[in-house]
């Protein structure tokens, strides 16, 4: 059974800030949803090969030739903060 501690741990993995009241609500909802999903456990399918994709398409390669791509100007257009020609972000860690 999923606990509030699990929810806080998974939220950290997902880089998702949850307010304290969201943690409680999320725990209840996830427990119910996962409880339904656990139905899959009824199936004895150890021997079945997993299927990742509906179609049998593997290793789609293209010619290794240069093509135009997004310009630096366009790539930076939507950025919340830009410094010279780069995305500007807060510092990585506390001093």
């Amino acid at each position: 059974m999923i606990t509030e501690a699990d929810v806080r741990y998974v939220a950290r993995l997902a880089r998702l800030h949850l307010e304290p009241d969201e943690v409680g609500r999320m725990t209840g909802e996830l427990a119910k949803i996962l409880g339904y999903i656990d139905k899959m456990g009824e199936l004895d399918i150890a021997h079945v090969r997993p299927l990742a994709h509906g179609l049998d398409v593997v290793n789609v390669l293209r010619e290794d030739v240069e093509r135009p791509s997004l310009s630096q100007h366009d790539a930076l257009k939507n950025a919340p903060a830009v410094s010279d020609a780069s995305f500007r972000v807060p510092r990585m860690s506390q001093r």
Binding site: V7, A11, K32, L34, M40, G41, A52, V57, P90
Partner: protein
């Protein structure tokens, strides 16, 4: 001048009127913009209406020589707001993209632009296409034109409602677990999810990459074929896209002689409403009158498909949505001392409750210690679901079922219970897991609300499905139109004053 009824006019007929010079693109566009003016405050189908741009572009088309006009020239089109459009804000109905101005256009949309369609605007959806009612939109809920107190379905509820309400002649949607077919069914129109890979996903903001597929929402099966014809094809920018073995033809079938229709028992379980069942069974009788053979069949792992889907789709979503981190585009939290806190706060502020739930389920299912129990198990179930279909198609040509077990449900009736909302897609999810094509057509009314009839086929059987659907459509003769009545239960429509319009105004203010 020809009097045009936007609630009845098909794209095929409008194309003929345009080509024969009986109407101009400007006149046709005005019909739809007038209808938007008349009903959009009640329906709320759009996040953004580009009325002036559309009118200007239509007038320009009219100046062009006939010879250089595109094959879909002048047809007023709605585009779901999870397909990027260069220079037009694309929000995915999420606050995290409230100000996102794409620098390129999705391939499917560009192909329609190449044929000179007139884009009227961007339509509402459940945030990042996660939902079955549009109630998860970060901006407003879309209302069903048949009863404004009810949902239009989702996640392509905006495009479906726009077409049903005569606010567009047709529209594009995307379908990950039923997001084209279920709203088409609930709004009384045609919706098709093509075979996985038939339409490029380039520029479709990814939800679950192995399941997502773009497709048409239209007033008729012929319109569906016409629109599909122009968006399919291999695209170097999407390595999962493929060339179809044959081109999409206009459907012409009148009879169904010799065609074998399988009715999977698992799709007609206890959750199917009586009215839906009655309408479905009546349609089976129409099929037999047309010479088709209906026989019971079985897809034994159907019960487990929903479970597998609600692991696979959130798992892929949790990875895809990692890109929304406040660095390159969209919302960024103002208060954050370091990078990690900026990520966490940006995402906490920007995503709505359902998107957070899916990210959490997906991250949990992929996390160390749970991967085998959930994700690996779900991929095995996916194989079993796919093999069920393969076995059925050895005996029969087309599988048929209700598209949705219920008609449109009241706004607010399922929001408090995510699992109940997930059950809305029980009939539509399996084909996404298997990558197969399916179409929903209206087959009748139950309590004054439309019922959808689903046809599913093997990979790349689009022409077969369109032909069969076309013959059934003619036999059913569904000719009801929505009344815009309000039975009173729901809150007022969001209308045009919120959402993307504000975003666009803000964006323009920022850009000067």
């Amino acid at each position: 001048m020809t009097v045009l009824d936007p609630l009845r006019l098909t794209a095929v007929e409008a194309k003929r009127l345009l080509v024969e010079g009986e109407i101009s693109a400007a006149e046709l566009t005005k019909v739809y913009l007038d209808q938007i003016d008349a009903v959009e405050t009640k329906v709320g189908a759009y996040i953004l209406v580009r009325g002036d741009d559309a009118a200007r572009y239509a007038a320009r088309i009219d100046q062009e020589a006939t010879a250089v006009r595109g094959a879909l020239s002048g047809l007023p089109t709605a585009v779901k707001d999870n397909m990027v459009t260069e220079g037009t804000v694309t929000t995915c109905a999420s606050h995290i993209l409230h100000n996102y101005l794409p620098v390129y256009t999705a391939t499917a949309v560009r192909k329609l632009f190449d044929e000179h369609v007139v884009m009227l605007g961007k339509t509402n959806l459940d945030e990042f296409a996660m939902g079955s009612s549009t109630e998860n939109s970060g901006y407003h809920t879309t209302h069903n034109p048949w009863d404004l107190a009810r949902v239009p379905g989702g996640s392509s509820g905006g495009s479906a409602a726009a077409v049903a309400a005569g606010e567009a002649i047709w529209g594009l949607g995307s379908d990950t677990g039923g997001s084209i077919r279920q709203p088409a069914a609930l709004c009384g129109i045609v919706g098709m999810k093509p075979t996985y890979g038939a339409v490029s996903r380039y520029g479709l903001v990814a939800f679950a990459s192995s399941l997502d597929q773009i497709g048409p929402l239209t007033r008729s099966v012929a319109d569906c074929a016409l629109l599909l014809h122009h968006i399919v094809g291999k695209d170097p920018a999407d390595s999962t896209s493929v060339e179809l073995p044959e081109e999409i033809r206009m459907p012409a079938a009148r009879r169904l002689d010799g065609l074998r229709f399988g009715v999977p028992a698992e799709y007609l379980g206890a959750g199917v409403e009586d009215g839906v069942r009655a309408s479905f069974e009546q349609t089976l009788r129409r099929i037999e009158e047309l010479g088709g053979v209906c026989e019971p069949t079985t897809l034994p792992h159907t019960d487990y498909a929903l479970s597998a889907y609600y692991i696979i789709a959130p798992a892929e979503a949790s990875a895809n949505l990692a890109r929304f981190d406040g660095v390159r585009y969209g919302h960024r939290a103002a208060q954050a001392d370091d990078l990690i806190e900026m990520y966490e706060r940006t995402r906490g502020e920007g995503f709505g409750p359902e998107v957070k739930r899916r990210i959490m389920i997906g991250t949990y299912a992929l996390s160390s210690g749970y991967y085998d129990a959930y994700y690996a198990q779900a991929q095995k179930v996916r194989r079993l679901v796919s093999e069920d279909f393969a076995r059925a198609f050895e005996q029969i040509d087309v599988l048929v079922s209700p598209t949705s077990p219920t008609v449109a449900f009241p706004i607010g009736s399922r929001v408090a219970d995510p699992l109940a909302m997930y059950m809305s897609d029980v009939c539509t999810i399996p084909v996404n897991l298997a990558g197969l094509p399916a179409i929903s057509i209206p087959c009748g009314l139950s309590g004054g609300l439309p019922v959808g009839f689903q046809l599913m086929g093997p990979a790349f059987s689009e022409n077969r499905l369109l032909d069969a659907a076309h013959a059934i459509e003619a036999a059913v003769g569904f000719d009801a139109a929505p009344s815009f009545r309000d039975t009173g239960a729901g809150p007022a429509a969001g209308g045009l004053e919120r959402g993307g319009l504000c975003s666009l105004a803000e964006k323009e203010a920022v850009d000067g």
